[in-house]
């Protein structure tokens, strides 16, 4: 099933194959995320979701096929043409990857400094964003001094503050309890809608897919088995796997 080649695409994979040693994780996969949309990539553990995300980020180079960011080829046939630092993307990892030796302010400032934002502008951007995420008085704290929910919000803030081409999420809510997950989903939905930018959200949880996705792509055994709105998936599932997923 192909979804690539659209002129409005922000993130694209074209016929991508990813192998780790002898193990082939993705085989001839094509996928695109349109500008301004939130695409949720959902699938079981080991289906290759994280490999898709890492291919976009440039942390994995597909052995075959092309990765395009904003219409520009970033990797092709085993060659890295655009390194991660120049792709203009932002990411929220599952373990959040907040740098423990930096305060909240420094974590955000690092991302802006690396992109050459002037100091005064940098501080203004951080000061504007933190209150919107309920972190107004947390800027001088270290990650270890924050609650789990606050850490999640700092990771989100770090991703949003740089105004990226697209934000990529790698199962960021996996380790949260039910209440915190519900609150974070609401916050994510609000922030993504307010920003109006492109997002790729990887998860194994169909509830997150339903809550966040403009469209949902279902990945199974390294292939996209169906892509569409959540309602489309529910009304006309393309396989038993999709049906089971929507009923979960």
């Amino acid at each position: 099933m192909s979804d690539a080649g659209s002129p409005h695409a922000c993130l694209e994979l074209e016929d991508v194959t990813i192998e780790y040693g002898r193990a082939r994780v993705l085989s001839g996969l094509s996928l695109s995320v349109q500008r301004g949309e939130t695409l949720v990539l959902v699938g079981a553990s080991g289906s290759g979701k994280t490999s898709v995300l890492r291919a976009f980020l440039g942390l994995v180079v597909p052995s075959r096929g092309a990765v395009l960011i904003g219409g520009r080829i970033a990797s092709q046939d085993g060659t890295l043409l655009q390194p991660p630092e120049s792709r203009g993307l932002a990411v929220v990892f599952q373990d959040l990857a907040l740098w423990p030796h930096m305060t909240v302010h420094a974590n955000l400032a690092f991302a802006l400094d690396a992109r050459g934002v002037a100091r005064s502008e940098r501080d203004r951007l951080i000061a504007d964003l933190l209150p919107r995420l309920g972190l107004a008085n947390r800027s001088r704290r270290y990650p270890r001094e924050l609650s789990g929910g606050e850490r999640q919000r700092v990771a989100l803030a770090r991703a949003l503050v740089v105004d990226p081409v697209a934000v990529l999420f790698d199962e960021p809510l996996t380790n949260l309890d039910v209440v915190l997950k519900r609150d974070m989903l609401a916050l994510l939905r609000e922030m993504l809608a307010a920003r109006g930018g492109t997002a790729l959200y990887v998860t194994h949880d169909p509830r997150e897919a339903r809550a966040l996705g403009d469209r949902v792509a279902v990945l199974h055994d390294g292939r996209i088995v169906q892509i569409g709105t959540w309602d489309e998936l529910c009304t006309a599932p393309a396989s038993e796997f999709v049906e089971a997923l929507t009923e979960a």
Binding site: E85, A97, H101, M102, F110, R115
Partner: protein, 514 residues
């Protein structure tokens, strides 16, 4: 993640520094052996010596002594490491620190201490060499095993505990899982024991490296003979190197990963054996420090004259060691990071560093003299730089492996996040990885520093006139100086090492609070 230009430049620079230290002495052996070097006249005529029965017997004795030291260290260090690493031994930290301390002292100082404590009758033969070196080097096995068992994923242990008792879990699950660390420890102990000059010379036991040294620094001065005699040592070193590559080299990254993580998790219970086992562990740990008691008893009246004999020797030791430790830590940060991130070519550089470590100091010394004792390079050979350079050749592997172990403690996504947000290699290393791991990097510096500080074999062959380090001054005084004065100087060396370690421990505690 692709390698960027900054990383390539850093790797090339680190590789050049490493190559400058390791390659010249090894390459210089060729003209030394063929007799084409002015320093080694008549070297070719020394070849028949290699076939003599005495030469063969010396080589076999040296290999056997080193093997015995390695075996003794494994027998004592493996159980002790598992106990300190994973069991609820009473006062485990104190016992581990006491046990490890002698490792950071020159072994011949320990031999001197044992002599003052036990007398010569027990010590002046091969048994004495094994006893002294086993106590001095066992902490390598203990510490690597302890850190390794701490690094084992708790779920392996918990799955075992569901079906078996702690002892079975320790012997059947933990011990086999730390076999790469044991292999690395065995190689390190064998290499250091095989290189050792001070202990066999003090205890009047002929070994092969002593025979090589005698032709460079003794009455039988014949550098050509020394070059030829060092060839079998190169052979042994290459065999050890091959063994290291086979047993642990391929797993260097995983050995590096072992340790430090999960340090706070709950320990296995010794139950009713806790008190007797703890007592036993403390007895073994304290035994290694007994030579210090011998030195203290003997040194009581020696301190009054120590000042006039010390001269600038402590400063020479500190300067050469600090210089080498700084260069090695720089190399270690770049190559250790590359090793953990599996950068192309770094395993080869790690192999070169291992080769420098397993090469006996006598061979390195012969090579260093051949490489640098020339008119245009007197600014190196005639100064402490030559000693620092030799330290880099010998101990670069310590910096690389400790930095690799440190960097492996953080998940790769910490660095990936920095890359995705636009940080190139330099910024990632300097702003993210190095501050995050500053305690570990400081630990690498300190470890290399104390290893350089304790080294006798390297500077004794190379020290420039009037610039000998403290170890060399004590060693040369040992033969004819007043015993009380020698013991006092030895204790001053012990004190310098203890202060450096205490300072490092304080910094480490502070750094770990990040």
């Amino acid at each position: 993640m692709g390698r960027d230009r900054q990383q390539e430049i850093a790797l090339v620079f680190a590789a050049m520094l490493l190559a400058c230290a390791v390659a010249p002495p090894l390459l210089a052996l060729v003209p030394e052996v063929t007799g084409s070097h002015a320093n080694a006249p008549g070297a070719t005529s020394a070849f028949p010596m290699l076939g003599s029965a005495r030469t063969g017997a010396l080589l076999v004795r040296s290999v056997c002594l080193s093997a015995a030291v390695t075996a003794a260290s494994l027998v004592i260090g493996l159980p002790l490491g598992v106990l300190f690493g994973r069991f609820d031994v009473l006062g485990a930290r104190v016992a581990w620190a006491l046990h490890a301390f002698p490792l950071f002292l020159p072994p011949f100082l320990l031999a001197l201490g044992w002599f003052h404590l036990l007398g010569g009758a027990l010590l002046f033969d091969a048994f004495g060499v094994v006893l002294v070196l086993a106590f001095a080097l066992t902490p390598i096995v203990t510490s690597l095993v302890a850190l390794s068992v701490r690094g084992v994923d708790p779920s392996f242990e918990e799955a075992g505990l569901a079906a078996a008792g702690p002892w079975r879990v320790a012997t059947r699950i933990l011990a086999p899982m730390c076999s790469p660390a044991m292999g690395l420890a065995a190689v390190a102990v064998f290499s250091l024991a095989f290189s050792e000059l001070g202990v066999p010379m003090f205890l009047r036991v002929d070994t092969y490296p002593v025979a090589v040294f005698a032709r460079l620094g003794g009455m039988d001065y014949a550098p050509g003979d020394a070059a030829v005699l060092s060839l079998p040592l190169v052979g042994v070193a290459i065999a050890v190197f091959a063994l290291e590559r086979r047993t642990t080299g391929a797993y260097a990254r995983f050995v590096a990963t072992a340790g430090l993580r999960s340090a706070e998790r709950s320990r296995l219970r010794l139950r009713r054996w806790r008190i007797p086992v703890s007592l036993g562990a403390h007895v073994v740990a304290i035994s290694g420090t007994l030579p210090l008691v011998g030195l203290c008893i003997r040194a009581a009246v020696g301190f009054s004259r120590a000042g006039e004999w010390l001269g600038a020797t402590p400063w020479n030791s500190l300067a050469a060691s600090a210089g080498a430790a700084t260069v090695i830590t720089g190399i270690g940060v770049v190559l250790g990071h590359g090793l953990v991130r599996q950068a192309r070519g770094v395993r080869w550089l790690d192999a070169i560093a291992v080769l420098g470590f397993v090469m006996p100091a006598a061979v390195l010394g012969v090579g260093m003299i051949g490489a640098w004792n020339r008119a245009p390079t007197q600014f190196i050979y005639g100064t402490l730089v030559v000693i620092a350079l030799a330290f880099v050749a010998r101990y670069a592997v310590l910096g690389i492996r400790v930095c690799a172990a440190t960097f492996a403690q953080s998940p790769p996504d910490m660095e990936h996040a920095a890359a995705v947000f636009g940080a190139h290699y330099g910024r990632r290393l300097v702003r993210v990885m190095m501050p995050m791991h500053r305690a570990g990097i400081a630990g690498a510096w300190l470890l290399v520093f104390v290893f350089c500080l304790r080294d006798l074999e390297t500077p004794v062959l190379l020290y420039p006139p009037g610039s000998e380090p403290l170890t060399v001054r004590i060693f040369t005084l040992e033969a004819n100086g007043p015993p009380a004065l020698v013991a006092a100087l030895a204790l001053i060396h012990v004190a310098i090492t203890a202060v450096a370690l205490a300072f490092g421990a304080l910094l480490f505690r502070k750094g770990r609070r990040v």
